[in-house]
């Protein structure tokens, strides 16, 4: 029967690690492999395993400003992880698959639009690359990303903050208690994409029951209203009760039930570092849920049973849910000028810390408030690597659906910045024509990426 299968790319990258004892290392998906192989799930007729493929440099340039260039920030493993997600998406769009699971390493949801190095174990954002790929190659416009990692998906949020066609919902452990320290309910998107970013911080120690309260009362209703053409799950598994980095109490079954309800087109693995006690079980349960199979027999050895929740914390979650439902329901009635001011440009300053590479970045991001399109974006970024002079770059991004005025202005901004010696590199990302430029001030040289040529 057609349209019945669940696609899987399993790419454990057994020869890639951040460092030998880093949580993001070769061993991470080892026991998941053992569990999946031993269960024989790959023999089930509803599941089909695919060989991974590499994303192109161009696919990355469509999303990121990698400094100085894409090749210096990504390894082949990164290209394979991102490429595997796009490979499954192709098969889903073509109707070969009903859904898919990119069970891949390395993860990506902390990677922001500008990339000076690795932050939160991420260099490039697999889900964001997938979104832009879907738009460019399949003309899919409205996309929702639901991030179920214990950490706030701050990279994904950053990339789509001004994008009205991408709904980004992240629930995670309260940023006051965990990396990266962001993801509060008041972060709702820029003036052109208000309430297209929804953050649900959860107090530490919450279990499945309250998690599903949030899913049923906030996430699913919002998705129903938004009517995305494609749903992506940033499937981080560090909300598990055994995870060494998170402090939540979710179980494999809780994750599987969430997957069944969300019914995503594609789940892409993010974090999850309880490599023995959680990952083999959570990954198996998610895969079974995607394939429409019974996952009630998947039970981790230390399964705690249902636990009583702290009523005070539950009440806190209920208040957040209520507040965000209000925001969502009134999203078209709010006075945006009151929130964002009345200038032609909305701008914000950002301080970004790269915890893995110890880089301090200062950004000034400006987005044109355009009545005809989502508006072009410029970013002035200065990164302090802790040695020598900080590097400073200027980035211009033209959205997929840009209007003519924004496009012209954006090219002018790029030309202008090319003449300013303080910028070592100046970038232009034109998603409307799929052309990406980079100018190297020292060498007075411009690179162009016009998409994959024959043989690439």
């Amino acid at each position: 029967m057609k349209n019945k299968k669940t696609g899987l790319v399993f790419f454990p990258a057994f020869d890639w690690a951040i460092s030998p004892t880093h949580p993001e290392r070769e061993e991470r998906l080892l026991y998941t492999r053992d569990q999946i192989f031993e269960e024989g799930v790959l023999d089930l007729p509803e599941i089909e395993e695919y060989a991974p493929r590499l994303a192109t440099i161009h696919d990355i340039a469509r999303v990121h400003f990698c400094v100085p260039r894409v090749q210096s920030q990504v390894t082949e493993a990164h290209l394979i992880a991102a490429g595997s997600a796009t490979l499954l998406a192709d098969a889903i769009v073509h109707g070969e698959l009903k859904n898919g699971f990119a069970l891949v390493r390395p993860p990506g949801h902390h990677a922001m639009r500008v990339v000076h190095g690795n932050r939160g174990f991420c260099n490039i954002n697999n889900e964001a690359i997938l979104v832009e790929y879907l738009r460019r190659h399949h003309g899919i416009k409205r996309i929702a990303i639901v991030d179920s990692d214990v950490h706030h998906g701050d990279g994904t949020q950053d990339i789509f903050y001004h994008d009205p066609d991408v709904l980004f919902i992240s629930f995670h452990q309260d940023g006051r208690t965990i990396y990266p320290g962001t993801g509060f309910p008041n972060e709702l998107g820029g003036p052109g994409a208000y309430a297209r970013t929804i953050n649900i911080p959860l107090p530490p120690g919450l279990g499945d029951e309250t998690f599903h309260y949030v899913v049923d009362n906030l996430i699913l209703p919002i998705l129903e209203d938004f009517k995305p053409e494609f749903i992506i799950n940033s499937a981080g598994q560090d909300n598990h009760f055994t995870d060494p980095l998170g402090s939540m109490r979710f179980t494999a079954r809780g994750y599987a039930e969430f997957t069944r309800k969300l019914n995503p087109h594609l789940a892409v693995l993010e974090g999850g570092y309880a490599i023995e006690t959680a990952l083999p079980y959570v990954n198996l349960a998610i895969l079974l849920a995607l394939a429409g199979h019974d996952y009630s027999y998947v039970r981790e050895p230390e399964w705690p049973g249902t636990m009583p929740e702290n009523p005070e914390r539950v009440a806190r979650v209920q208040r957040v849910v209520e507040q965000l439902r209000n925001v969502w329901e009134n999203r078209d009635r709010v006075d945006l000028d009151k929130i964002f001011g009345t200038g032609t440009f909305f701008q914000r300053r950002k301080h970004i810390y790269y915890d893995t590479d110890y880089i301090e970045e200062e950004q000034l991001e400006r987005v044109r408030r355009c009545p005809n399109c989502p508006g072009y974006i410029t970013i002035d970024s200065r990164a302090d690597h802790g040695y020598g002079h900080p590097s400073r770059v200027f980035c211009v991004s033209i959205p997929f659906t840009a209007c003519g005025t924004c496009q012209t202005e954006a090219y002018d901004a790029y030309e202008q910045a090319r003449g300013l010696v303080q910028y070592q590199f100046v970038y232009l990302q034109d998603k409307s024509t799929d052309t990406f430029l980079a100018f190297d001030q020292d060498k007075a040289q411009e690179w162009v990426s016009e998409g994959p040529r024959v043989g690439e």
Binding site: P12, L30, R33, D34, G40, P52, I80, L288, H293
Partner: protein, 559 residues
């Protein structure tokens, strides 16, 4: 001198090789009594040759295949310990299945203890239903076989005369449902296979042959007949392996598609970089998935004797055979008749072949030649498409490491080698469509027997060490041992695996094969807890050299 015998469904083929040259060959019909066909073929090639001169006899046989296909075995009950994971309702094993408590995890740690009362109950229920054979299999039993052993001991305590087969002794690889099926089939066929082996040994010694007797396995390796008693199911599907090895022996090395066109099926195989391609997972036996390692062979349901019929305006080739081709006195038109009309074969009667094409084409207003070329084109298209699909399936096989992904390159065949009855008429056109050279090797009709004759004995040993828990496992032996050295590393693991392979070789009388060992898998993972390395998981697989002993027709030069 070497002898190869392939006991196929319709014919039993045999060759006698003398230092790489074919000295005699025979083709006799396969009868119900396999042994008599085997002896007849043997006698034909041994005319005037002293039995003492024969160093080895290798045969491939359908005996196990037939036992399984015809379900000619005693019923086998299952006692399983699947533990948590997939819902047991997804397992559809063709027999009484009892699921009991008890679970081992991926590192071989007990996570749920056994309950012996449940074992007693399961065994009593099986006994009540007349079972005397039982397969006991636990999830992750290849990482720790304690539960399986305890269950077996308990069952045998209650029923000392039962035949109990344990999962970890049958298959060491991961995949519980496949291990269940492999264990079930092993349990089911062991006794009958034993009887067969004994009579073969008897017959061959009656002919004065004192050389070693081997049997071909589905993966193209051979085992001493005596040792094959341990793994009867692995002798299944040795036919396609035999013809693939035959092609390997009869043609120069390269990227080759092997097309073995028989009466009703065409078997396809690939030889890549000079070695037959192994299937990435175990073989499907009687529609059940097993752990049996096999060459990647695709059986296409079309052959020289397939029935061809006109349906409306279409001419259709069916997958069944209803007797011989029309030109050979059969009832209905077949591709062989089409070949006869086109002058691509000399088999049978030309007039009857034309008559067959006439029957098909007249209502459509097609000439005899037009019908014939339409029929052959259909066959050629089907086979060509399947060869292409085999290559892309191979390319699409998953990879779990960066370097594996990067090194996958597009490989296409450079030659198409045809063997089997129908090969001559089709191979050149198949090759033309694939843009490669057609080859019909000398001795093509007995390539399978040649393949059997020159197949190498194969043995492999997989060692898995867990230095944190301080033990290692030899998968093929179902052995669990302690690691005492604190500094046990990859090199120690490799040495230990080699020692075990030598031991294993000695046990099978294959001491000579241990030269030129190949390391086919090498995996080391550090286990880190709280940023400190607490141990290593080391997996190594060593095996004897795969492939053929020498090329045939080239004067016996060694590979």
């Amino acid at each position: 001198m070497y002898i190869g015998i392939d006991v196929g469904g319709t014919c039993t083929d045999a060759v006698l090789l003398d230092r790489g040259l074919v000295r005699a060959m025979a083709k006799v019909p396969t009868r119900e009594d396999l042994l008599s066909s085997l002896l007849e073929a043997l006698d034909e090639i041994m005319k005037g040759v002293e039995g003492e001169l024969v160093e080895r006899v290798v045969f491939s046989t359908t005996v196990i295949t037939n036992l399984i296909a015809e379900k000619k075995y005693d019923p086998v009950g299952l006692i399983l310990m699947p533990g948590p994971g997939l819902s047991p309702s997804l397992y559809r094993f063709p027999t009484d299945t009892h699921i009991i408590q008890g679970a081992i995890d991926y590192r071989g740690r007990e996570i749920i203890p056994l309950r012996l009362t449940e074992v007693d109950q399961a065994a009593a229920e099986l006994a009540a239903r007349g079972y005397r054979k039982v397969a006991v299999v636990g999830k992750f039993s290849c990482r720790n076989h304690r539960h399986e052993k305890e269950v077996a001991a308990r069952v045998l305590w209650n029923y000392p005369d039962w035949h109990v087969e344990l999962g970890h002794q049958v298959a060491g690889q991961l995949n519980f449902p496949r291990r269940v099926v492999s264990t079930y089939l092993t349990c089911a066929t062991r006794e009958k296979y034993q009887f067969f082996v004994r009579s073969v040994q008897e017959a061959i010694s009656q002919r004065g042959i004192k050389g070693a007797i081997f049997i071909l396995k589905a993966d193209g390796g051979t085992l001493p007949l005596e040792s094959s008693l341990e793994v009867p199911v692995e002798t299944i599907f040795s036919g396609p392996a035999a013809s693939t090895l035959g092609v390997q022996a009869l043609t120069p090395p390269g990227e080759t598609a092997v097309v073995d066109i028989g009466g009703t099926t065409t078997d396809l195989a690939l030889i890549l970089s000079g070695q037959p391609l192994l299937a990435s997972r175990g073989a499907r036996v009687d529609d059940m998935l097993t752990h049996v390692r096999a060459l990647a062979v695709k059986s296409v349901p079309v052959g020289g004797d397939s029935v061809v019929e006109r349906v409306g305006k279409d001419i259709i080739i069916y997958s069944e055979r209803l007797g011989a081709p029309y030109c050979l006195g059969g009832p209905l038109p077949t591709p062989t008749d089409a070949l006869r009309v086109l002058g691509l074969t000399r088999l049978g009667d030309a007039d009857r072949a034309r008559e067959a094409m006439q029957m098909l084409g007249a209502p459509l207003g097609l000439s005899v030649a037009e019908v014939a070329s339409r029929v052959t084109t259909r066959v050629i298209e089907t086979i060509t498409r399947e060869i292409e699909a085999m290559f892309s399936r191979w390319e699409q096989e998953p990879a779990y490491r960066v370097w594996e992904v990067l090194q996958k390159k597009k490989v296409r065949p450079s030659t198409v080698v045809g063997v089997g009855g129908g090969a001559a008429g089709f191979v050149s056109q198949i090759a033309a469509r694939l843009g490669c050279y057609p080859v019909i090797p000398p001795y093509a009709p007995v390539a399978n027997a040649i393949g059997a004759a020159v197949a190498r004995p194969t043995l492999q040993v997989t060692l898995r060490a867990d230095t944190e828990q301080g033990f290692y496992i030899i998968l093929e032996e179902g052995y669990q041992g302690k690691i005492t050295e604190r500094s046990f590393n990859e090199e120690n693991a490799l040495e230990l695996a080699k020692e075990w392979l030598c031991k294993r070789a000695a046990r099978h009388g294959l001491e000579d094969c241990v030269e030129g060992l190949e390391v086919t898998r090498r995996e080391v993972f550090n286990m880190v807890r709280d940023w400190v390395t607490v141990g290593r998981l080391i997996d190594v697989t060593v095996q004897t050299r795969r492939g053929i002993l020498y090329h045939v027709g080239a004067g016996g030069t060694s590979e």
